[in-house]
Amino acid sequence: MTGLILGFLYALIALGYTMVYGVLKLINFAHDVIFATGGIAVFYAFGLWFGITEPVTGPELALVVTAALLIGGVVSSGAAAALERLAYRPLRRRNAARLSYLITAIGASFFMTYMYQQDFLLGTGKRSFPNFMDRQSAVAEDFLGTRVTDIMFLLVITSIVCLVILDRFINQTRTGRSIRALSEDITAAQLMGVNVDRVIVTTFVVGGFFAGVAGVLYGMRFGNVVFNMGFIPGLKAFTAAVLGGIGNIRGAMIGGLALGLIEHLSSVCIGSEWKNVIAFSVLVLVLVFKPTGIMGERMGG
C-alpha cells in the first residue's frame, strides 16, 4: 500500500515530464520545482494567510481539501506557464539546440529552488505543512495488512480521478488531439492549423496542474514542506516516465506505479538503503531490453 501511494505520487508528477517531453522533446528539469510550488503555495495560503492549521471536519473538510488541491494546482500551472513563456519560448524562437533547453531548465530549477530557500520565502529548514486534515484518523484499520489513513485514501482517490481525467482529456478533446498532433510532428500540426504556442502553453499548464496537486498531496502525507522538496520526487518521477516510455501518458502512469512498488518491495525485502540502487538497476535493465520503455513512445492511448 505504501508503495502504491508513492507510485501514484510519482505517476502524477511523471505526467508533466512525459507531456512536455512528448511535445517539445525536452526533459523539463524544472518540473520538480513546479511540483514543490504547489505544496509551498498551500503552505502559504492556509498556514499563513487563512490560518487553517487545525484539523477540520464534516462538509467543511471537503471544501478545504478541494480548495487546497485547486490552489496548489492553479499556482503550479501559473508557474509552469510563466516558465514556458519566460525561459523556453525565447529559446524556441532562436531554434536553440536541445541541450540548451536542458540547461535552461536546470538553471530555472536552481533559481526557483534557491529562491524558496531565502528567508523571505521558506528559509532553509523544514516548515510544517498546515494540518487541516486529521493525520491520524483512518478509513480502514487493516486493509491488506496496512492501516489506511484518510490522507492515504484521499491521495489514491485524487490520483485515480486525475489520471482518468487526463487520459480522457488527451484522447477525446480537441485540445488533446492538438497535443497529440504536436507530439507526432510539430511542422505538420502547424500546417494543419494548430496554434503551436497555445498548445505548448496548455501542455505546461496541464502538466503543472497535476504536479501542483501532487505537491499538495505530498505535503499532506509527509506533513512538511522544504525548499528542495521537489528534487528527489522529481528525479524519481522522471525515472518513472522513462520506465513507462517517455512521451506516453499511460506509460507514465504505469511507470510511476511500477517504480513505487519496486521501491517499496526492495526496501521491505532487502533494506531501504538499497531501494534506489534496485530502482535504477531495474530501470537500466528494462531499457537495455526494451529501449523505449514499457509502453513505447506513442502519446495517445
Binding site: Y21, K25, I27, F29, A87, P90, L91, R94, A96, A97, R98, L99, S100, Y101, L102, I103, T104, I106, G107, A108, S109, F110, F111, M112, T113, Y114, M115, Q117, Q118, D119, F120, T124, L235, F238, T239, V242, I246, E273, W274, N276, V277, F280, S281, L283, V284, L287, V288, P291, T292, G293
Partner: protein
C-alpha cells in the same frame, strides 16, 4: 582547389593539410608562413602554460629566486600581491576549480564531441577517488585498502578503473538514444554513490579518512610549494594534468576518431551507413572521457585526504554538464571557462556580497539562485554557449566540399544581377509604402 570527395573519404582520410586546401601558387608563396601558423597551434599551449605558471608566482614571488639565481636577492622578501591567493579559502576554490576543469574537459569529449548526453559523469570521478583510497595508505582501520602503495602508483589504476567503468557503462547503453542515455547515466551515478554509501569496504557514509598525499619530491627550497599539506603544492599536479588533457583532446578532435565522433553526433544512422564503427567509437568516447576524471579523482583523493559519498552528490553531475554547455559544446576553451564559472562564480558572488542583503535577498545562501538565473540568461542570449565552437562552421564548409559542391566563381551573381535585384527590392518596398 576543392576536389570532389564523398563523405566516406572525408571521414576516413587523414586530416587535410593546409597546403591541400589552397591553390598551388598560394602554397608556394606562403608555405613558410602557413607552416608557422600551424606551429602557433603548439605555441598556444606554451602561452597557456606560462599564464598558468604565473599563478604560483603570484602566490609566492620568492619562488622566482630558485629558477633565476640572479633575481634571488631582489625577490626574497616580496609578498604576494594578491593576499587572496596565499592561503585559506581563496586558494581552496582555485584548486577545486582546477579539478573541475579536468572534469569538464573529460565530459566535453563525451557530450561535446560524441554527443552522448552523460548525466552521471561524477560517478567516474568518484571511482577514481575511491580506487586511490583503496590502494594507498589510508588512516583508520586496515580494511579500507587492498594494497598499500605510494599514492603516485595508484594513478594508473585510478585511470584504468575509470576506463573499465566507462566501457562497462557504455556497452549495455549503446542502443539508447539521447534522453534515455541521460537517465541511465544518471542512474549509474546513483547506483555507484548509493553502493559506496551502503557497503562496508567503503566505510559507508562515514567515508575513508587519512588518504596519503602523493609525494613528488619537490626541493625544499620551493617553500610552501614543497609542503605536501599546503594548497599550493597541488598546482604542480593540476597544471600539467590540465595541459596534457587539453593537448590530448585537441589532437583527438582533429584526428579520424574526432571526425567519427562528429559524424555520430550529427547523425548516427548516416554515420553508421558511411562505415563509422559507431559502437566502438561510442565506447571509446566514454572511456576517454572517464580517464580524465580518473586523474581528477586521484588528485581529489590526495588533496582532500578524506572522501565520502557526500563529496559526490548528483548535483555535481548536473553542474558539470552545465559547465560544459555554458562554455560551448565541443569547445575546449569553453569547457575550461565553463568550469571556472560553475566553480568560481558562486564564490565570487559570496565574496562580493560581503554579507549584505538586497531587498531581503541574501546572496550568500542564494548564490546558486544567482547562478541558475545566469544559466537561463546565457542560454537565451547565447544558446550555443559562451564560446560557441568555430568548428561547427568549419565542418559545414568542409562538408559541402565533401559532398562535391564545387564553388564556382561564375555561379556568383554578377554586378548587373545584384543591381537588378536591389532595384526590384526597392520597388517592392515603395509599393508597400503606398
Amino acid at each position: 582547389m576543392a576536389t570532389k570527395r564523398d563523405l566516406r573519404t572525408y571521414l576516413n582520410e587523414a586530416y587535410p593539410k593546409t597546403s591541400d586546401r589552397l591553390p598551388d601558387g598560394v602554397v608556394n608563396a606562403f608555405n613558410g608562413p602557413y607552416r608557422a601558423y600551424y606551429a602557433i597551434g603548439y605555441w598556444r599551449y606554451l602561452v597557456a602554460a606560462l599564464l598558468m605558471a604565473t599563478i604560483p608566482i603570484l602566490m609566492e614571488p620568492s619562488i622566482l629566486g630558485d629558477f633565476f639565481p640572479a633575481l634571488e636577492d631582489s625577490v626574497a622578501d616580496l609578498e604576494s600581491p594578491i593576499p587572496y591567493l596565499t592561503g585559506g579559502f581563496g586558494i581552496r576554490v582555485l584548486v577545486m576549480t582546477g579539478i573541475w576543469i579536468l572534469l569538464a574537459l573529460g565530459l566535453s569529449v563525451v557530450v561535446g564531441m560524441a554527443g552522448l548526453l552523460d548525466l552521471g559523469y561524477v560517478a567516474f570521478f568518484m571511482l577514481g577517488a575511491y580506487t586511490t583510497a583503496f590502494m594507498t595508505e589510508s588512516g583508520g582501520a586496515d580494511q579500507f585498502h587492498f594494497v598499500v602503495w605510494p599514492n603516485v602508483a595508484a594513478l594508473p589504476f585510478a585511470i584504468l578503473v575509470c576506463i573499465l567503468a566507462g566501457v562497462a557503462l557504455g556497452i549495455p547503453t549503446l542502443r539508447l538514444r539521447g534522453d534515455y542515455l541521460a537517465i541511465v547515466t544518471l542512474g549509474f551515478h546513483e547506483i555507484v554513490r548509493q553502493s559506496a554509501n551502503n557497503l562496508t569496504i567503503t566505510n559507508g557514509s562515514r567515508g575513508i579518512p587519512g588518504i596519503e598525499r602523493p609525494d613528488l619530491g619537490l626541493p625544499e627550497s620551493w617553500g610552501e610549494f614543497a609542503v605536501l599539506s599546503s594548497h599550493n603544492y597541488w598546482f604542480f599536479l593540476l597544471i600539467p594534468a590540465i595541459i596534457l588533457a587539453v593537448i590530448m583532446i585537441r589532437h583527438l578532435e582533429d584526428s579520424r576518431v574526432g571526425r567519427y565522433w562528429t559524424a555520430i553526433r550529427e547523425d548516427e544512422v548516416a554515420a553508421a551507413a558511411m562505415g563509422v564503427p559507431v559502437v566502438k567509437m561510442k565506447v571509446l568516447a566514454f572511456a576517454i572521457g572517464a580517464s580524465t576524471s580518473g586523474v581528477a579523482g586521484w588528485i581529489f583523493a590526495g588533496y582532500a585526504t578524506f572522501i565520502s559519498p557526500n563529496n559526490f552528490p548528483l548535483l555535481y553531475s548536473i553542474l558539470i554538464l552545465c559547465a560544459v554547455v555554458i562554455g560551448g559544446l565541443g569547445s575546449i576553451s569553453g569547457a575550461v571557462v565553463g568550469a571556472m564559472l560553475v566553480q568560481g562564480l558562486p564564490e565570487v558572488v559570496r565574496e562580493a556580497s560581503g554579507g549584505r542583503t538586497v531587498f531581503g535577498f541574501d546572496p550568500e545562501t542564494g548564490r546558486i539562485a544567482v547562478f541558475g538565473f545566469l544559466l537561463v540568461v546565457v542560454m537565451i542570449f547565447r544558446p550555443g554557449g559562451l564560446f560557441a565552437p568555430k568548428r561547427r562552421r568549419i565542418e559545414l564548409s568542409e562538408a559541402s566540399a565533401a559532398e562535391g559542391v564545387i564553388i564556382d566563381e561564375s555561379a556568383q551573381p554578377s554586378q548587373d544581377e545584384i543591381e537588378f535585384a536591389s532595384s526590384v527590392h526597392e520597388a517592392s518596398q515603395q509599393k508597400e509604402g503606398d
